[in-house]
Amino acid sequence: MNTTQDKPARPAGPPAGPRKIPAPRVLPESQAFWSAADEGRLVIKKCNACGEVHHYPRDVCPHCLSLDTTWLQAAGTGSVYSFSTMGKGEAAYTLAFVTLDEGVTLMTNLVDCDPRTLAIGQRVKVVFKPSDGGHPVPMFTPA
């Protein structure tokens, strides 16, 4: 009898490859954001009543509760507000907040770079990366 077969199954090890990007679940009021992402365009929401931009996008302006909000094409450039790298090897990834030049800060990943070379304040630009069976998602890379 092979004693190794009597041992309980090992817990799953760390993922072998890069982290899979979960597909975003699209709610009706954010559909336009993801349709723009399909075209490689980053859009944010602007309120016609108070003039402020916001993110994540929603029908109702979180600054003044007006329903008069519209989509705004973002330049796709900004700077790193903060970041943190977690995981090992190919599974490592860098969570970040990037402040767009339009003024909103969004959660994202910093990609296509060595995380050890990143710095807060660094200029970055948007790149869209495919998600697992859904719309592409906006990530950022050094500009």
């Binding site: 817990p11 982290r19 990007i21 979960p22 597909a23 975003p24 679940r25 699209v26 709610l27 009021e29 954010s30 993801w34 944010i44 402020e52 931009v53 916001h54 993110h55 994540y56 929603r58 302006c61 979180p62 600054h63 507000y81 903060s82 970041f83 943190s84 790298t85 977690m86 990834y93 969570l95 970040a96 907040f97 402040t99 003024g103 909103v104 800060t105 969004l106 959660m107 994202t108 990943n109 995380p115 807060i120 304040g121 998600s131 998602v137 990530m139």
Partner: protein
């Protein structure tokens, strides 16, 4: 209406287990409820209000009321993660002041360690609109707090060595707690040389993961006086409370402060006190950076000076300027159900009663503070502050 003096904490109990292989979640809640009733010298029929949050199984207050056979006239399931029990004490005091109940039971319990659950937040609610703009990027508790720590270092020059002093202080306290998961006294070097989890946070910057729980009983003043006379021990008065959420504000993210910057001043105002009056602080310690943020936001030091406040043993009882988490806290003792709020209240009650371990007991501890951060610092959380007085 001020809640100052409207209610007292008359019972507190912490489950001794750290791994509950044979106990269900509902049984853990029942165990701590029974423990707190025994501590207060009350029976279940004295309880007429019950509070629990998302860690309770089933329908929460409804499921637990049935399991324990409680007859209630007031229930509250305010859910804000690990800070919930701290808010529950305030809500219980408000309900007592409004005449809606006399004696309130609060429980928190869970078994994430036995269940082998990952250190992750609850399964996402598909209707939560923010998740599509966060989940694709892999937010986890560790990297969300890592971003806060990195920004704090950038803005204020805080160092990993300074953060490590928070773990060092917790470990000094935990060596005296036979139930603590980590009882070894660690050095700054050991913390900063432990494996990186999510930069700049190392493994020893993170709290433990444990099963267990705790319960609190809050009662109106007349009942508290009867109990104190029977038990011949000091009473613990609810003196000040505050609560506030903080979120991404439509993309106006500022990681330099927590919601404690709002809940803290409210609690101090209600108590008629200032941070300099506090002799012991229970601070939610999911990570070392969580403690540093609360110290600054609650006003124990100026914003950006937390690193200097904690270094060289600043938080060690008997040595430092502000003794904190004298049971070892979440960093060394326990973090039941991945929620540390109730244990923060329990150790503060022990300090005020003079029941903490003699090696860490604060002399003549008359005023204590407990603060909770439920959720995640970087994205969204709710802070609860509770100031208690020995009477």
């Amino acid at each position: 209406m001020s809640l100052n003096g409207k209610a007292y904490i008359v019972g507190a109990y912490e489950h001794p287990t750290r791994k509950a292989d044979e106990l269900s979640v509902v049984r853990l809640h029942a165990d701590v409820a029974k423990g707190a009733l025994e501590d207060a010298g009350l029976t279940k029929d004295d309880i007429d209000a019950y509070f629990c949050a998302g860690d309770a199984p089933g329908l929460g207050t409804t499921t637990m009321a049935e399991y324990l056979g409680l007859k209630l006239r007031h229930v509250d399931s305010t859910e804000c993660g690990g800070s919930a029990p701290i808010l529950h004490v305030a809500h219980a005091a408000a309900a007592i002041a409004a005449g809606r109940c006399n004696v309130a039971l609060i429980t928190l319990a869970g078994r994430p360690r036995a269940a082998g659950a990952a250190l992750s937040l609850k399964a996402p609610d598909a209707d939560a609109p923010e998740l599509a703009f966060e989940l694709p990027f892999g937010p986890a508790t560790q990297n969300l707090y890592g971003m806060v720590a990195k920004r704090h270092m950038h803005e204020f020059g805080t160092t990993s060595e300074q953060l490590a002093w928070i773990k060092v202080a917790a470990s000094h306290h935990a060596q005296h707690n036979p139930n603590a998961m980590l009882r070894n006294v660690v050095t700054v070097e050991e913390v900063v040389n432990s494996p990186m989890v999510s930069d700049p946070l190392h493994r020893l910057d993170c709290c433990v993961m444990s099963d267990g729980g705790g319960a609190i009983i809050v009662a109106r003043p007349e009942i508290a006086r009867d109990i104190a006379a029977r038990q011949t021990r000091p009473m613990v008065k609810v003196r000040g409370t505050g609560e506030a959420p903080k979120h991404s504000m439509g993309g106006r993210i500022d990681l330099t402060y927590s919601a404690a910057a709002c809940s803290g001043p409210a609690a101090f105002a209600e108590a008629g006190l200032s941070p300099a009056d506090i002799q012991y602080a229970s601070l939610y310690d999911s990570f070392t950076i969580t403690v540093l943020m609360q110290l600054e936001d609650l006003g124990f030091c100026k914003k950006g000076e937390g690193g200097r406040f904690v270094q060289d043993g600043g938080l060690i009882s008997g040595v430092g300027r502000l003794p904190f988490n004298t049971d070892g806290g979440g960093l060394c003792n326990n973090h039941p159900a991945n929620r540390g709020g109730v244990t923060k209240i329990i150790e503060a009650v022990r300090q005020l009663r003079g029941e903490a371990h003699p090696a860490v007991q604060v002399k003549n501890c008359g005023l204590a503070l407990a603060n909770g951060i439920g959720g995640a610092l970087a994205s969204r959380h709710t802070a609860g502050t509770l100031i208690m007085e020995r009477v």
